[in-house]
């Protein structure tokens, strides 16, 4: 394959991986703080994408503006989700709690999928927003400007999250709960509330990713669970607890999909898992895991 195509595929892969990274960081944040693997994570992405689509369809508002409006709304959705469905499990014994959390989040995921399918008439009905930006052409390379804008915004959001975690009291508390929950409690941190806030932030990131998906590609009712599984690969590949690792993982899986997809699009999911296995063979704790 000639190098221009390869470079093109690499660029596309990175741009694709950015959105994966964003949503996966959200999932990782939730898991780190609460210990719950939220199997409904991808559904929030899907629902947010649909909401952006519907609002755009109805009011013709700018889709990026809609993402900025819808994502914070999903902070509340995530917060409420934790409060209503996850918090009641906290008093259970550890193994019961883990099993219940799987059932509850999986159940929520299935309901969300049916809900979206019911309203869009068809599980495979793909919705996307038509937004055209001229493609940048540099030499023989085609740079999809829409995806570039999305990638830029993704990086901005990841940077904002980083600054939040590093420089605000609340952000430090989120890290503290991740690193030592009991220590955090003894420090006067209301860990129950931090759990809900982490769900809120993580869900908000998924929602932003959902908005971006609907802008530069599409959403459909049945994309949620496969995406959650993909983010899980990304998190494990990046190394639990390392957001930089997760970001890298997202981009690597994006790259893998882009390159393999050039030959045959059917193998996208397999690539994610093969890459994961490959990385874990070399680095058992993930790229940047400690």
């Amino acid at each position: 394959m000639d190098t221009t195509i390869l470079v093109q595929l690499v660029i596309n892969g990175i741009l694709l991986g950015g959105v994966y990274a964003l949503a996966a960081i959200g999932l990782s944040l939730i898991f780190g703080v609460s210990g719950v693997l939220n199997l409904a994570h991808g559904e929030f992405l899907m629902l947010s994408g649909f909401l952006v689509f519907v609002l755009h369809d109805t009011f013709q508002w700018d889709p990026f503006l809609l993402v900025a409006l819808v994502a914070p709304l999903f902070f509340l959705v995530g917060y409420a989700f934790e409060k209503a469905l996850i918090r009641p499990l906290a008093a259970r014994k550890e193994h019961v709690r883990l099993a219940s959390a799987v059932l509850v989040t999986l159940g929520a995921a299935l309901i969300a999928e049916d809900f979206a399918a019911f309203f869009s008439q068809d599980v495979q009905f793909e919705k996307s927003v038509d937004l055209f930006l001229p493609t940048l052409v540099i030499g023989e390379l085609y740079l999809p400007s829409l995806k570039l804008v999305v990638f830029f915004l993704v990086m901005l959001l990841i940077l904002a999250l980083f600054l939040f975690l590093k420089f605000t009291f609340l952000g430090l508390a989120v890290q503290a709960v991740t690193q030592n929950r009991q220590g955090a409690m003894l420090n006067g941190i209301n860990t129950t509330r931090i759990n809900a806030i982490a769900f809120g932030i993580g869900t908000m990131l998924a929602a932003a990713a959902g908005g971006f998906e609907v802008i530069h590609s599409y959403v459909a009712p049945n994309i949620g669970l496969p995406l959650t599984m993909k983010y899980l690969c990304v998190i494990v590949m990046g190394g639990l607890g390392s957001f930089v690792g997760v970001a890298l993982g997202g981009i690597i899986i994006g790259l893998g999909e882009s390159i393999v997809g050039f030959f045959h699009p059917a193998w996208g999911q397999t690539v994610a898992y093969l890459l994961l296995v490959g990385v874990l063979l070399i680095r058992p704790k993930g790229l940047l895991g400690t």
Binding site: F169, L172, A173, Q175, A176, Q179, N180, Q182, G183, A184, M185, L186, N187, G188, I189, N190, T191, T192, G241
Partner: protein, 234 residues
């Protein structure tokens, strides 16, 4: 200031504390000693609100605090420096200290209190930007206490602060504890190091397998034949 009134505590169905009564008067250092598994950590975790007693009451400044969650007890000035330190290993020394002042009411005096901590443990200042997980054991213990002080404690619960420290550092630690107490902080001190703990205390309690075995003035406990044989190794 703090009164435990006949508290009993269980883990699941297994009782470990049986009707323990204990009091810390304002301004005092009270030492609680006892062998491994006696229930010392369980006792202060109950005071901190990590565990709920199955019976009895805990009163702090005259009112029961049983219904307060742990963070609200910290807000009232009941601060625990836990066994095993429970630092935030990937955060820096400074960030760990900052989190000690997480409660909104505490953030105002943060700078001043951090100065006080630096003054007490100058070594921490030198290590300000270092990740807590990479500190030496002694430094970690200093940080754990420093972080506790950042919460502006009125009653400090110290769980084996001298564990794992070299003899020089142990002496330094006890000096620091006295200094903190002189600043007006009441202290409930749990120690394996029974002689030193009793020597710096105003009052002592000896716990054996969840039962109060003796209480009294340190001098009396230090000369008690049974205690000498069991805990003091003399």
């Amino acid at each position: 200031m703090l009164e435990l009134e006949a508290i009993s505590v269980s883990y699941g169905d297994i009782p470990v504390i049986f009707g323990l009564s204990l009091r810390v008067k304002a301004g005092q250092i009270v030492s609680l000693i006892g062998g491994n598994g006696a229930g010392k950590t369980t006792t202060i975790n109950t005071i901190s609100g990590m565990l709920r007693p199955t019976g009895g009451d805990i009163r702090y400044e005259g009112a029961s605090i049983l219904d307060l969650p742990p963070h609200d007890r910290v807000a009232r000035g009941i601060v625990q420096v836990p066994e095993g330190r429970m630092l935030f290993p990937k955060l820096t020394v400074r960030e760990n200290l900052k989190l000690g002042a997480f409660q909104p009411a505490l953030r105002k005096g943060l700078g001043r209190r951090m100065e006080e901590v630096w003054e007490l443990f100058p070594r921490l200042r030198e290590r300000m930007g270092q990740q807590a997980g990479t500190l030496s054991g002694g430094e970690q213990q200093m940080l754990a206490i420093g972080r506790g002080l950042m919460s502006a404690p009125r009653l400090l619960l110290l769980d084996e602060p001298s564990t794992g420290l070299a003899p020089v550092l142990v002496a330094e630690m006890f000096r620091a504890i006295r200094k903190i107490n002189r600043r007006g902080v009441s202290i409930l001190l749990i120690e394996q190091n029974a002689v030193q703990a009793l020597r710096c205390a105003h009052h002592g309690y000896v716990l054996e397998q969840g039962h109060l075995f003796r209480e009294g003035l340190p001098e009396a406990l230090l000369t008690d034949a049974h205690i000498k044989a069991a805990y003091l190794g003399i």
